[in-house]
Structure formats: C-alpha cells, structure tokens
C-alpha cells in the first residue's frame, strides 16, 4: 500500500469523526501515568490513540523439499503488517501528529485456520508542543515501539526515533533425508542442515529490517526483537520476524545528568 499523507482511505466514517474530535482537543492514550508525564516532559503532547488493522487472507504456496524460503508467505506476513502500520500512520497524520510512541504490533489468529489472520498496530500519537517538526525524513510520522520512559531517555541521549523497521522471512526447514537421519541416529552431532536453515532465515529477516533502516537514513536500530513463530503452518514452516526502532542523532540534545545510584524500596 503506497503511503499518501492526506489519505484516510480505509478509515470509516465513525473513525473520521473521532479523529476530528481528537483534533479539537480531547486526547486518548494507552500511556501509563509515568509515560504520560515523561512524554510531556520530553516536550510532546499526546493527541490520540491510533490504530491500524488489516484482516488478511494468506495465499497458498506448495512447500517444496529442502531448506528454502516460502516467498508467498513472507510477502503476506510483511504486506499485512505494513497495511496495519500504514493505516495507523494515516490516523496519526490526520491528527497532525509528529509520531507514534508505544506501538504494539500483534497478530490475532484465533481459530480461523492457517489462511486468515488479523494484523493490528496500536499506539499513542504525539505532537511536539512547540510545533517543531519531528517527522521521519520521508515525511511520515515517526513510529516507535519504545515506552514513554524509553522515549524520554532516547530524546535526552541525543537521538530521536524515525520509524519502526521490520523484516519478515517465512522459511521451510527441510526434513532430513533417510540416509542422513540414519547416519546421525544415536550420535551427539550438530544437525548442520537445521542450523543452516534457521541461521539463513534469521539472517534474511534481519537483513530486510536493516535495509529498511538504511532507507530511512537511520544511524542505527534500538530494541530489536526477533520473534520466531509457526503460525499454524505445521512444524517445519517458521516465520522469523525482526522488528526494532530506527534512530537518528539530533544536534541540540540536552544530555541527562549523571544517574544517581539508588536502593529502591520496591522490587
């Protein structure tokens, strides 16, 4: 889905009404009180809870023998997440936000079978209180899965988030052949073909994430998570999904004073 900053395509009438209301002052947010106060302190105002969803039908690809990527599935998993993220960004755009913090990206599959899933992205849109533009270089609102606390710390460490970057790779891990499994039976050996398959799949996902960050001219990525899930495709087909927040340095940062060591009375 191409991104159009003025587009509200896919957002129904009731949604537009709500976004209009948000624009006129009332904000909603899933920020905790700590996060709310810290986001304020970092110089941003929450403007609204923004959500993007996509219910997606995943196409079919015959698994072939051996270790190989299942491109159709990789594309599906990426595209559906991208739909959800883009819609969330469009909502933030409609609110005139600079970006979105605390983004959660989930997949709900329920009992729908392997071919249908819901992808959902949810976060709190924020706007700089003095109107300084904090968007990503491509003009989109920035997205970040960092908490309000992490957002404050990052802003004070001389960096700011530019966007969440992700890479997906659905990989079919080939079964060992008869000869190979017989040869390895009862021995302490590395199962090289499995190591190679999982290694490759992870690399592909991370490489894709990295190239997204490079497109954003980011300095680096923080908070990368790698999720490994077999979304009901059976034990030999696994999705490797890498996601993190790309950051860029800012010139006029006020550094955090040296931390004070404390012994907390809470856990």
């Amino acid at each position: 889905m191409s991104y159009d900053p003025n587009s509200l395509a896919g957002i129904p009438e009731a949604g537009r009404v709500r976004l209009e209301q948000n624009k006129s002052g009332l904000f909603t947010s899933d920020l905790s009180v700590n996060e709310f106060l810290l986001v304020k302190q970092a110089g941003f105002d929450p403007v609204g809870l923004v959500v993007g969803s996509s219910i997606y039908h995943i196409g079919f690809q015959t698994p072939r023998r051996g270790n190989r990527e299942m491109e159709t599935l990789s594309k599906a998993m990426y595209e559906a997440r991208n739909f959800a993220m883009t819609r969330m960004e469009e909502e933030a755009d409609a609110l005139g936000a600079d970006g979105i913090v605390g983004v959660r990206l989930d997949i709900g599959r329920y009992e729908w079978g392997a071919d249908m899933a819901e992808f959902i992205a949810i976060g709190t849109a924020v706007r700089h209180s003095e109107g300084k533009l904090h968007r990503a270089p491509n003009g989109r609102p920035f997205t970040s899965d960092l908490s309000g606390q992490d957002f404050w710390t990052l802003m004070h460490s001389g960096h700011r988030p530019v966007g969440m970057v992700m890479g997906s790779c659905v990989y079919h891990v080939g079964r060992r052949g008869f000869i190979q499994s017989t040869a390895q039976m009862g021995k302490n050996v590395e199962l090289e073909s499995y190591t190679q398959a999982l290694y490759d799949a992870r690399e592909l996902a991370m490489e894709r994430m990295q190239s997204e960050a490079e497109d954003l001219q980011a300095e680096g990525i923080v908070g990368v998570q790698i999720q490994e899930k077999s979304h009901g495709w059976g034990s030999h087909t696994i999705e490797f999904f890498a996601i993190g927040t790309a950051v860029v340095p800012v010139a006029d940062a006020q550094p955090i004073p040296a931390p004070t060591p404390v012994l907390g009375l809470d856990n």
Binding site: A14, Q21, S29, P46, I55, H57, T260
Partner: protein, 313 residues
Amino acid sequence: MDDAEAETIAEREREDSLERIRRGGIPLQAEQRLKDLADHDGFFTSDLSVSEFHLCQQAGLRPVSQVMGSCVYHVGYAGRPYYGGTYGYNVNAIAAELPSLSHSWNAARELALSRLRQEAAHCRADAVIGVHITKGAWDFVAGAIEFVAIGTAIRHEGGPPNPHPVLTGLSVQDYFKLNQAGYDALGLVGASTVYYVIPSVASQQIQRSRMMGPGSQNQELTDLTQGLYAAREAAMGRVESAARQLGAAGVVGVTYEQSIRTYEAEGSFGTGSHRDLQITLHVMGTAISEPHRTAGAPAPRGLKVTPVIRLNR
C-alpha cells in the same frame, strides 16, 4: 428473641437487599458496614500495597475502606443481524452492531461501577483508587457474566468532602504523581461493543478456496477489515464522548481488549460455507482534567525527573 424470630428478621433483610439490588443499589449489610467504617475514625480496610499506604500518608490521603461493586448479568441470545432481501444471500458485506449484546456488556459494567460509587459515597470517600474490573463467568448459570469492580476508597485529608466520589484505575503512586503534575483524575470511562460481520460474496469465495482460485493469492479481506474498524470506532467514540461529558482534557491508561470469534455459516444456493466474525471490544481508561494553572504562572511541565540506577537487580 428465639430462632424463628431471628429467621424471620434475616428473611426480611434478604428480601430488602434483593429489592435494593433490583433498584440498582447495594445490599443492606454492605451499606451498614460502610457507614460504620465511615464513622469509626482510624480503622480502615484497603487493598493498598505497603508502598502505596506509606505514600498515602505523605500525600495527605486517608484510606477508608476497600469497596466493591458487582453485577451478575445474563447475556441473551443474539442471532446474525437481519439484512434485507433473501436471508443468507448478500453481495456486499454486512457489518452491524448486535445491540442486545452491546447493551448487556455496557449495562453490566455501569451497574457494577454505580454500586462501587454508592459504596464509596456511603463511606464518605472522595475518590476510589486502583479500580480494577474483572469479568468472570460462573458454572452455575450459563450465558451469564459477572462484572466485579474493586478498589480502595480514600479521603483527602483537610479538603471539603466530595459528594460524587471519583473512580480511577490509577494506583496511589499514579494518582499522586498526576496531582503533583497539576492534573485531576475525573473518572473511569468505558465502552463495550459487539459487532457481527458477514463477508461479501467475493470474500466468501476467497475463504472457500485454498490451492486454486481466488484464495491462492495473498490479499486483504478489506470488507472484514472495514467491519473491525466500524466496531472499534463505535467503542472508542463512545469512550471519548463519555470523557467529554466529564469535561476531560484527555484519557490515560486506555486498555483495549478485543476478541474475535468466527462462526461457520452456510451460504445460500449451495455455495458452501464461509466464516462470519463476531467482534467483542472493551475499551476503558481514566479521564483527566486540564492542568491547573495559577494566574500568571506558565503551564506546569510536570514533575522533575531524576535519572537513577537501581541497585536492586
């Protein structure tokens, strides 16, 4: 007083309590306990942690009593929504609210919260802190839900009594911090909604085919996505209107709970079955006021942040 007499009195009290419940009130005994607690200065019950209790003393808050509001509600049956024309055949997708189910969830939540508010008023509290809601089901009655809202009623020491206690989902720490930063908690705002979505004929064909035909391709089921959006906007819109009615500047700590069930439904003209969605959403958060301003002073920028390194772990 002999046993028979005592039994008669107990029976009358149960009848009274039942009548109070029917009117949306709380049982007689609960009211009595709370009034007693309100009159006994000093003794209190609470579900506060030790840190919260300590902070209460620092912040000039006094716990009065743990308070509760509950409601067992029977959620009736709601079939698929009716749409014009031949039942079971529609070219376009249908997304419609199931008003009876939505109403059940909303009514149950509001009843439980209103009882919580009554309990708080009986013990002359100014606010209820840490309200958490649990939704449970019991074996003994099918199709019923129990909403239980529990929190700790507190009084602001020295302040004028508040005839309408404020409910908040915030912990004492959060309540204190917000207050220090210049915001008031105004109350819990919530909404539930249940939607039913029937896919369009095109989406039904995608659902039915797998290795060949339209279902072999990656694609979004846009009509189902739209249905989900409609449901979400209905719920979130209601939360926002509720916040507006309280004169809020915003809502923090919004929880967004979503569950989707699919129902296998038979298409007409022997076209085979497809999957409908039933979407249940619960959205809830704490409404907060505009920050207080003293005349001439700049808007408060919140609390001072001190970076620390924890030595606990």
